[in-house]
């Protein structure tokens, strides 16, 4: 019986810490691991580690892990606020970007400073579908480690602007029904009613929004519809 309680305690502690870590991560903001700045990455790893220790060891009070996680969250939020208000603090915390290629010339000194080698440069260029260094006008190594590339004007894909073509306005399509649920807020945004939606669905032989997998409306007023598999 004691073994069962021991398992339940571990279960409860894990559940609680998981919720706490999820809330902490949400409060830290929306970022993917690859987009994290160095200090954010450090804090993320530390939070994960801190949650695991009291999860495994029942002798460690849960509060120890909670206090450490909350302190890290406080540090992260404080640093974010300071970064927002001070450019100097921001560059101290995140570092500065490095211009690796300037006017088509590789900046060896910048590469040495950033400890960034040619293999890494070529790899990140390939990931951006640039296979020839001669096509690069500027390449900037961002503080997150991402490479931003400005291709030479002759190597850029042609845009309607280059061809002096008039184009129509294109906004974001509005998702009106998702997984059978009517997105009322999106309907309100587009100044349409549910009655209109139902009549449109009937035109396509669909009786109810609950039968729709996805329905979206683009800026040209065209409705894209896909019914659920019956």
């Amino acid at each position: 019986m004691a073994g069962v309680f021991l398992m339940l305690i571990t279960l409860a502690r894990t559940f609680f810490l998981y919720i706490l870590v999820v809330i902490t991560m949400r409060l830290m903001g929306k970022r993917q691991i690859a987009q994290l700045e160095p200090f954010e990455l450090v804090i993320t790893i530390m939070i994960a580690e801190l949650a695991v220790i009291p999860m495994q060891d029942r002798n460690i009070p849960l509060i120890n892990g909670i206090i450490a996680i909350l302190t890290l969250l406080f540090i992260q939020v404080t640093f974010s606020v300071l970064s927002l208000h001070s450019m100097n603090f921001r560059s101290f915390l995140d570092g500065r970007y490095s211009v690796i290629v300037a006017n088509g010339v590789i900046q060896e000194q910048e590469m040495r400073k950033a400890r960034y080698n040619l293999d890494e440069l070529l790899e990140q260029l390939r990931q951006r579908s640039i296979f020839d260094l001669a096509d690069v006008e500027f390449a900037i190594l961002e503080t997150s480690g991402e490479l931003s590339v400005l291709p030479k004007s002759q190597s850029r894909p042609v845009t309607p602007g280059d061809l002096k073509l008039e184009t129509e306005y294109e906004g974001l399509p509005l998702v009106l029904v998702m997984d059978g649920q009517v997105m009322s807020s999106e309907l309100r945004k587009s100044q349409l009613s549910e009655a209109w939606l139902r009549s449109e669905l009937e035109k396509h032989g669909i009786k109810s929004p609950s039968d729709v997998l996805i329905a979206s409306l683009n800026t040209r007023g065209e409705l894209y519809l896909q019914a659920k598999e019956s």
Binding site: N59, P61, N64, I67, L70, V77, T78
Partner: protein, 126 residues
């Protein structure tokens, strides 16, 4: 900014809570140490019944505090004092003076350590 204010309040609450815990440990360990002195005197004067009664008083107070501190202090530290109290009871019951005195000395040291571990000092930080 709202989140920062909220988190600042949380951190202030943690600091206040920590100071309160530190004071609570200091007061309790002081009180128990004083009672341990009385038990020590009773043992030296062969007043075993009085020593047992005083030990029970310490035990009662310790149980109360232990319940309060369990969510805050490493369980191992608290268990050690509880074990010392149990052993002391058996030494007092069997009227074993030297073992009882050794147990009291060990327990007193453990209480000092318990308090010192919770103080904000450079030694504890590093």
């Amino acid at each position: 900014m709202k989140l920062w204010i909220f988190m600042s309040l949380v951190i202030i609450a943690i600091i206040v809570g920590g100071l309160f815990l530190q004071q609570s440990i200091l007061k309790t360990t002081d009180r128990i140490s004083r009672t341990l002195d009385l038990i020590q005197d009773a043992v030296r004067n062969n007043q075993w019944q009085e020593a047992l009664a005083l030990r029970d008083k310490v035990d009662h107070e310790w149980r109360l505090q232990e319940n309060r501190w369990t969510p805050l202090i490493h369980n191992h530290e608290l268990n050690t004092v509880t074990i010392h109290l149990a052993r002391l009871k058996s030494f007092l019951a069997s009227e074993d003076e030297s073992s009882a005195l050794a147990e009291i000395a060990e327990m007193r040291l453990k209480l000092i350590q318990l308090h010192e571990q919770e103080i904000l000092t450079l030694e504890n930080i590093f």
